[in-house]
């Protein structure tokens, strides 16, 4: 069953926390991965792969550069769940 936006956000925050140690509370929809959370491109790719596995979705490499904010990623994943 497809997860809600909130459920995806919670799951994504856990992945971000696991990769970077950033508090899950800080992973909010409006936060930018690079500018606010200071996540570099390599960590971002690790987060993407873990998200693909956790949510059973495919996030193409070309799409990753469009995922600027946490909300971008949550929306992409929510829609990709179809």
């Amino acid at each position: 069953m497809a997860l809600s936006q909130n459920e995806v956000l919670t799951g994504l925050a856990e992945i971000v926390n696991e990769e970077t140690g950033i508090d899950t509370e800080s992973v909010k929809m409006e936060k930018s991965f690079v500018d606010d959370l200071d996540i570099d491109s390599i960590s971002m790719m690790t987060i993407v792969v873990n998200a693909e596995e956790k949510f059973s979705v495919k996030i193409p490499d070309d799409e990753v550069k469009n995922l600027i904010t946490v909300g971008d990623a949550v929306n992409f994943i929510t829609q990709a769940q179809g």
Binding site: S41, I42, M44, M45, T46, V48, V49, D61
Partner: protein, 333 residues
Amino acid sequence: MQPTLNQYKTTQFSRIYSIGASRGDLVVTNDDVAGPIDSSDEWIRQRTGIITRRRASKDQSLMDMAVEASTQAIKRAGIDPQEIGAVIFSTISHPYQTPSAATMLAEKIGANPAPAFDISAACAGYCYGIAQADALVRSGVAKYVLVVGGEKLSDFIDPTDRSISFLLADGAGAAIVGPSDTPGISPTVWGSDGSKWESVSMTDSLLDFRDGLVSWPTLRQDGLTVFKWAVWEMVKVAKEALEVAGVKAEDLSALVTHQANIRIIDELVKQLQLPDNVVVARDIINTGNTSAASVPLAMDQILQDGLVKSGGLALQIGFGAGLAFAAQVVVLP
């Protein structure tokens, strides 16, 4: 009546007898390369793990490093160079299209008239070479095989390139493979994925350079695509290599991966769930990324530093341009 052909008498097992190493004579710091890419020591350390990289001066050629590494490996193996039945040189930076680097190397180390040839499998090249050496020894074609991975990548870099040039370094690693009473090299898990041919490559062809259409071709990579492949696809390859070898991660003394980037190495360790007692080679910190040379250089470093003992098991895995990959479990010399 037609005679029955003779074929080589096969040998059951092979092993690596010794490793030899040679690194570029210059120690190049992050500060030395940071300027043209508008970067810093801290940024490079965080993204790659590299503190210094070894590069060869103008006076030190790829062949010089290959000869030094090979001579050391031959000496450590305690064999006569004339007993070498094949010389395999893996390189992408030999500056002549032909003849091969291997034939010159064979002559310089006293292995003439051994069959000698180069292979082009980039960062997977040394592990490709070990696979071929294992087959040549066990099939009875050669008693001893010299496998060399060597690069002078500094001839093919662009100081202003932010994708790969600042990682790259120069060096050569060599191994002697020969017959053994017990199994010393597992079946190799190897392959390629040409659908990602362009993700690590030269900027342009030599023909376009000849015609004045482009400047001197240098190496480039799509770092994120390569990172993703190098971790999550290579984890599968590493696990398969363990499986076909009949060993488990906890049986390993060491993991020796291609030294591409410490972030790849660390993520591989995490994904493989390696126990803490497995020594992980991190030669990239002081040597940089030497493509085909990186696996033997990294193995030599953990052996020379006494971090692992002869007889232990090491999973070695090379991966890179092609994209090509190869992994096998070997008994440490």
